[in-house]
């Protein structure tokens, strides 16, 4: 075991993993986290906590993960390179490990232009691939980037993201290969709506044998409405929603839109379940955490496996 986290144990045992997501509150309100946690508990194996996603100031990922751990769940600390240099990152990784956090997701982060502080200075001292290398160096060699020995090595299960729907398409698998080379343990993909395109990407992944070196979790987000589908398709960078999916949402009766969205999500999960090289799903029910249990149950992934300590 590299980290001994619940997520790592599930994946190493060959179980089909389910991870969830929790966006922290725009303030210090612990009740928001408690409410979301209650919907996720028992339904997922670990929960990603976003790090000031879309550059909007929120409670820190470290603090939120620590709170989730106290509530008996397992947090995966997302860390973006936008706001911290290598000094702050490594310091936060020490702190996170000391607080019981065992999973990290290394990201470059959305540009600050999107958030509520567009005039901020960004950092981008290192990128997400270099961050993977750094966390691995800390874990496997017990050293910080500068070369000094670490007192109390943070043994993290190292994750990263992959977006098969961004451009250039042919390069996306190369970038994944670089993350594997850097030492990533698991990958969570961008939300999948275009399964055919995702299949083509996975073919390239398998051709390089990458699926045998790491665990790939397919990203899914249930659509709540036609408006949300259109918004995600046009306004969220790197998300592709095929016309036929939008049409399915449009054609559903008015009072059944949400149900249709859940069905599309469940069907996607079922197809991912059968796909060679996919070891789990990353279920991002954005501000719709109360549906996680339904989706996981409908997809036949309930109850979640229990692993011993």
């Amino acid at each position: 075991m590299k980290s001994g986290s619940n997520l790592e144990k599930i994946l190493e045992r060959g179980e089909f993993a389910v991870t969830g997501e929790c966006g922290p509150p725009k303030g210090a309100d612990v009740e928001v986290i408690k409410r979301k946690a209650q919907f996720l508990k028992g339904n997922v194996d670990a929960i990603n906590v976003t790090d000031n996603q879309t550059s909007i100031v929120r409670m820190s990922s470290i603090a939120t993960c620590a709170l989730l751990n106290q509530m008996g769940l397992e947090g995966t600390m997302q860390m973006v390179s936008r706001d911290r240099n290598r000094i702050a990152m490594q310091s936060d990784i020490f702190g996170a490990y000391a607080l019981g956090i065992r999973n990290i997701l290394c990201l470059s982060g959305d540009h600050q232009k999107f958030g509520n502080h567009p005039t901020a200075k960004n950092v981008f001292d290192i990128d997400s691939i270099q961050m993977i290398q750094m966390v691995k160096l800390m874990r496997d060699e017990g050293k910080v980037l500068g070369g000094d020995e670490i007192q109390g090595v943070p043994k993290m299960f190292i994750g990263a993201a992959a977006n098969p729907f961004a451009d250039p398409f042919e390069f996306r698998v190369v970038r994944l290969a670089k993350k594997v080379k850097a030492g990533v343990d698991f990958i969570q993909t961008q939300c999948i709506y275009d399964l055919d395109k995702f299949e083509r990407w996975m073919e390239m992944v398998r051709k390089r044998g990458l699926h045998e070196k790491i665990h790939i979790l397919g990203g899914v987000t249930p659509l709540k409405s036609v408006g949300m589908a259109k918004y995600m398709a046009t306004k969220v960078s790197g998300i592709e929603i095929p016309e036929k999916v939008i049409k399915r949402m449009q054609d559903a009766p008015k009072d059944k839109k949400a149900e249709e969205g859940i069905d599309i999500c469940v069907e996607t999960i079922q197809r991912l379940f059968k796909m060679e090289g996919i070891h789990g799903i990353h279920l991002m029910a954005i501000e719709w955490e109360e549906m996680v249990e339904t989706i996981v149950k409908k997809a036949g992934l309930y109850p979640r496996p229990k692993v011993e300590d």
Partner: protein
């Protein structure tokens, strides 16, 4: 070249508010080429200030000068003979020129009239674009002659990130994705294998992060 843009007129007008006799000094190098602070712009700014002040009923005497360069002592010396007759200097040079002017004439208030933007190129008449961030340790050999520091909005060394769509950057559909450009160029050169290698963590100490920079060339010193 260094590309600059003139400050809003009212900002400049406010700077010279206390003065009755000023020098407006242009620079014949970069800022002339990018039409921000050359002889022509010195003339336009001086005439506008003159008119605005007359309108306010308190005229201003302006001497227009355009030096070869404001980043070289020998040219700055050319105004020494008469600088004492003026209350302030409006420099139309880049930030380096403004500062060097202030260093040279310590007793004289020196004001900037331009916002210095970037090291860039003239794409077409009236359009300039950034190319170099002056990081002090060039990586263009690894990236097909396209700079990821200056041209990727996140300065990623192992891009493109997930926000690259149709060749454009996530920050603006008008901004080209630097890493898409790198990819296309390396593909055309038959060097895509270069992108399989991880570019290691950058040493930013050669950049501004290492503190103010200077170069000493012993072979050239007198």
């Amino acid at each position: 070249m260094i590309v600059a843009e003139r400050k809003p007129f009212n900002e400049i007008l406010a700077m010279v508010e206390p003065f009755e006799k000023i020098l407006v000094i242009g620079c014949k190098t970069c800022v002339t080429v990018c039409s921000a602070g050359g002889e022509k712009e010195v003339g336009i700014l001086s005439a506008s200030l003159d008119m605005a002040r007359k309108k306010e009923g308190k005229g201003i005497e302006i001497k227009e000068v355009t030096l070869e360069r404001q980043c070289d002592p020998e040219y700055l010396e050319q105004i020494r003979g008469y600088v004492g007759e003026y209350q302030a200097i409006l420099s139309m040079a880049c930030g380096a020129g403004v500062q060097f002017m202030a260093e040279t004439y310590k007793e004289k208030p020196v004001y900037p009239t331009l916002n210095t933007k970037f090291i860039g190129v003239a794409l077409e008449q009236g359009v300039w674009s950034e190319r170099c961030a002056g990081c002090g340790d060039c990586v263009l050999d690894k990236t097909g002659g396209i700079c990821p520091i200056a041209r990727c909005s996140k300065s990623l060394l192992n891009g493109p990130c997930g926000g690259s769509v149709n060749g454009k950057c996530e920050i603006d559909s008008e901004v080209e994705c630097g890493w898409q450009l790198i990819y296309d160029r390396l593909k055309a050169l038959g060097q895509l294998d270069k992108l399989e290698e991880i570019i290691p963590v950058k040493d930013w100490s050669s950049s501004r992060d290492g503190g103010p920079r200077r170069i000493v060339r012993e072979d050239l010193r007198l």
